[in-house]
């Protein structure tokens, strides 16, 4: 495989390399042949900071099935988080609950 399947998303957050955390600027999702995992084609996730050195990168290579499971788990967690945000911090929440959150 030598694909053009690449998605680049601006992100806000941090990732860890060694003992140090660094701020993120982008996440890159691709499907291509693995560079390290003893697998053929993989979903790769790279969390990077384009303003730092090239080593400011947290890289992951996942099988397609594993990536699907991760995607589903992210979806579930995000749905619950949005519910939480709406219920507790959202417009309909009581002032007391907003303060508690």
């Amino acid at each position: 495989m030598c694909t053009s399947i690449v998605e680049i998303v601006p992100v806000e957050g941090m990732a860890k390399r060694g003992d140090a955390w660094f701020a993120l600027t982008q996440a890159v999702v691709a499907y291509d042949h693995a560079r390290h995992a003893p697998l053929a084609d993989v979903i790769t996730l790279d969390f990077v900071n384009a303003r730092l050195d090239a080593g400011a990168r947290a890289g992951v290579e996942l099988t397609l099935e594993t990536a699907k499971a991760l995607h589903a788990a992210l979806g579930r967690a995000i749905a619950e988080a949005e519910f939480e945000e709406a219920e507790v911090r959202g417009k309909g929440a009581t002032p007391g609950l907003v303060r508690a959150a």
């Binding site: 030598c2 680049i8 050195d53 090239a54």
Partner: protein, 248 residues
């Protein structure tokens, strides 16, 4: 067949596309020559150990070999990290790779031991770039394209960095071409390799394609599960025979 166990290997600085200084790894066989030259165009995983080692492999077989770091502008770091950065930047422009490769060809042609003949060798994205170069420039004598991905591109995949589908330039191919492909590859797929070959035939170009069963993408890569030793060694023999014929 002669082998050259003695060789000189070093990094050199060359003026790449736009005059940008870039580093190239070079390997020269021991002796006065004259030697033909091979310019290696590295793959998406970057200026990696595989390409550095393959540069030495060509010197072992009697070629002056040079492999430019096409990702140098993305900064220092391990090949993996730099390749990931390049991917995050949306890849490198085709025109820049052509300019960098032209500088490597010029370096090869300026060596006192050179016999005046130059071949290109590239795999994966490097195979695509090698073919593209051989269509756009007229200063190489042979081209080895190994599983060049995206030689055949859909219009929706074209962008500012890759503005042309290389297959549309086939009529301008300036030298004989050897193509190495795995029949289990999906990029390029066997159907795309068929299209590539049909266009070469239609344009009356000198070429030979070797297509291997039981092999997919990147089957030369000895450090990957995709490695296929029998097909790899057969393909190497085809490449050396092809270069021997066209670079003597």
């Amino acid at each position: 067949m002669s082998f050259y166990r003695g060789m000189t290997c070093t990094n050199v600085a060359i003026a790449g596309d736009g005059g940008d200084p870039i580093t190239a790894y070079v390997a020269k066989p021991e002796g006065p020559g004259p030697f033909p030259a091979v310019v290696l165009v590295h793959h998406l995983p970057g200026w990696s150990e595989f390409y550095i080692e393959t540069t030495r492999r060509f010197a072992h077989h009697g070629y002056i070999a040079i492999c430019a770091n096409l990702y140098e502008r993305s900064g220092p770091g391990t090949p993996d990290d730099v390749a990931a950065r390049v991917r995050a930047e949306g890849g490198v422009p085709d025109a820049q790779v052509i300019g960098d490769t032209e500088a490597a060809v010029k370096w090869a042609r300026s060596q006192p031991e050179h016999n005046g003949k130059v071949a290109l060798f590239g795999s994966c994205s490097g195979g695509r770039h090698a073919f593209l170069y051989a269509c756009q420039k007229h200063d190489v004598d042979a081209c080895a394209e190994l599983w060049g991905g995206r030689v055949v591109m859909a219009p929706e995949d074209l962008n500012a960095k890759t503005p042309v589908s290389p297959i549309t330039l086939t009529t301008d191919l300036s030298c004989p071409l050897i193509g190495i492909f795995g029949n289990e590859d999906r990029a390029p797929s066997p159907e795309q390799v068929n299209q590539h070959e049909a266009e070469l035939k239609k344009c009356g170009k000198a070429y030979e394609f070797h297509r291997y069963d039981g092999a997919g993408h990147g089957f030369f890569y000895w450090h990957r599960p995709m490695y296929r030793p029998e097909q790899t060694m057969d393909a190497w023999s085809k490449i050396f025979a092809f270069f021997g014929k066209h670079l003597s």
